[in-house]
């Protein structure tokens, strides 16, 4: 047993060196969220709900619809982000399953690298994003009992002050 433990030790000793060898500009999904999304969506996924859609405890409901799942990645600021596919995939899973809390339907699968890489190549550019979202929200509220808070975005194009 002792010999076994000793055999494993050199490998263990190398671990910290491997971990610290990462380049300094690699961010965690949370770090990427703050730098690329948090300014408008808010540090915890809520800012001005009428001007920017809430993410907190809410964004996962779009996964109830196949086109909703695709929509989240095809949004221009997601698809056109300067992040590589792998970082964007981790970011999407952080947003949907961490910030989104339990809003995704039970058993939802995380986004895969391949899925995100394919979806971001067909960004939503020739549609009315607000209309497209409203149509999905209608279905989500009517058929999937999603929160009506989803309707706050788009109430007023210029955004009224956040409600107390």
């Amino acid at each position: 047993m002792l010999r076994l433990a000793l055999a494993g030790l050199p490998a263990l000793a190398m671990l910290p060196a491997v971990l610290t060898a990462q380049p300094a500009d690699v961010h965690t999904p949370r770090g990427n969220y703050l730098l690329s999304c948090g300014g408008c969506h808010g540090l915890e996924g809520v800012s001005n709900s009428r001007l920017v859609p809430d993410l907190k405890d809410q964004v996962g409901v779009f996964l109830n619809l196949p086109e909703g799942r695709r929509y989240l990645v095809r949004l221009p600021n997601v698809a056109f982000s300067s992040m590589p596919d792998a970082a964007l995939t981790e970011l999407m899973n952080y947003v949907v399953f961490d910030l989104g809390g339990t809003s995704a339907p039970k058993g939802s699968k995380p986004y895969t690298l391949r899925e995100v890489a394919e979806l971001r190549r067909i960004p939503l550019t020739e549609v009315s994003l607000v209309q497209m979202r409203q149509q999905m929200v209608q279905v989500l509220v009517d058929q999937f009992h999603a929160t009506t808070n989803l309707n706050r975005y788009g109430d007023d194009a210029y955004g009224s002050p956040p409600q107390p």
Partner: protein, 183 residues
């Protein structure tokens, strides 16, 4: 005639000799020596590493002249992307709005390097809104642009008045709130 203290000492030494094996001690020492490099997270190792510069790439002009003590000067380190009049000159702080104005819930977010430890931190550049522009002296007007992008990347642009989502969209002054370490 031996004293009780002598007896106690003798008993301790004999027990130590009887119940501890020299080989057992040596093997434990060996394991400890081998395992030691696997745990480099002692405070000393960490603080030594923290002193190394972590930000990638060469320093910007701003970073060569930044300081950490006076937040009423444009070269205070958290203002590396600030464009506007400093709230710390207007009765607020570098992360608080002056009385009567309120922070914009929407802002742009960038990173600044702390010159003391070379680490990057996430900064939210929120404007304070709802009052006419603060009339502070010229030295409080800053135009820094580290990691800021042109208007076609508007979510990372510092020429935008970020008060557009507030009840009153009038711009009063600029803050630079530290949000966390950039990692």
């Amino acid at each position: 005639m031996t004293s009780p203290i002598d007896k106690m000492g003798e008993r301790l030494t004999r027990n130590l000799a009887r119940f501890s094996s020299r080989r057992g001690f040596l093997s434990k020492l060996g394991v400890a020596m081998l395992a030691a490099p696997a745990f480099p997270l002692l405070p000393i190792a960490r603080s030594a590493r923290a002193a190394e510069p972590k930000a990638p790439g060469p320093k910007t002009d701003f970073e060569r002249n930044s300081q950490t003590t006076d937040d009423t000067k444009c070269n205070y380190w958290k203002y590396c992307g600030s464009d506007g009049v400093l709230c710390s000159c207007c009765g607020g702080g570098h992360h608080t709005c002056p009385a009567g104005s309120e922070p914009s819930p929407i802002s742009w977010i960038g990173t600044c390097v702390n010159p003391e430890d070379g680490r990057s931190f996430v900064i939210a550049y929120r404007d304070c809104c709802g009052k006419p522009m603060c009339g502070a002296g010229k030295s409080c007007w800053c135009d820094n642009s580290d990691r800021e992008l042109p208007t076609y990347r508007s979510s990372l642009n510092n020429d935008i008045i970020w008060c557009f989502g507030n009840a009153s969209a009038s711009y009063h002054c600029s803050t630079a709130a530290l949000v966390g370490e950039a990692k």
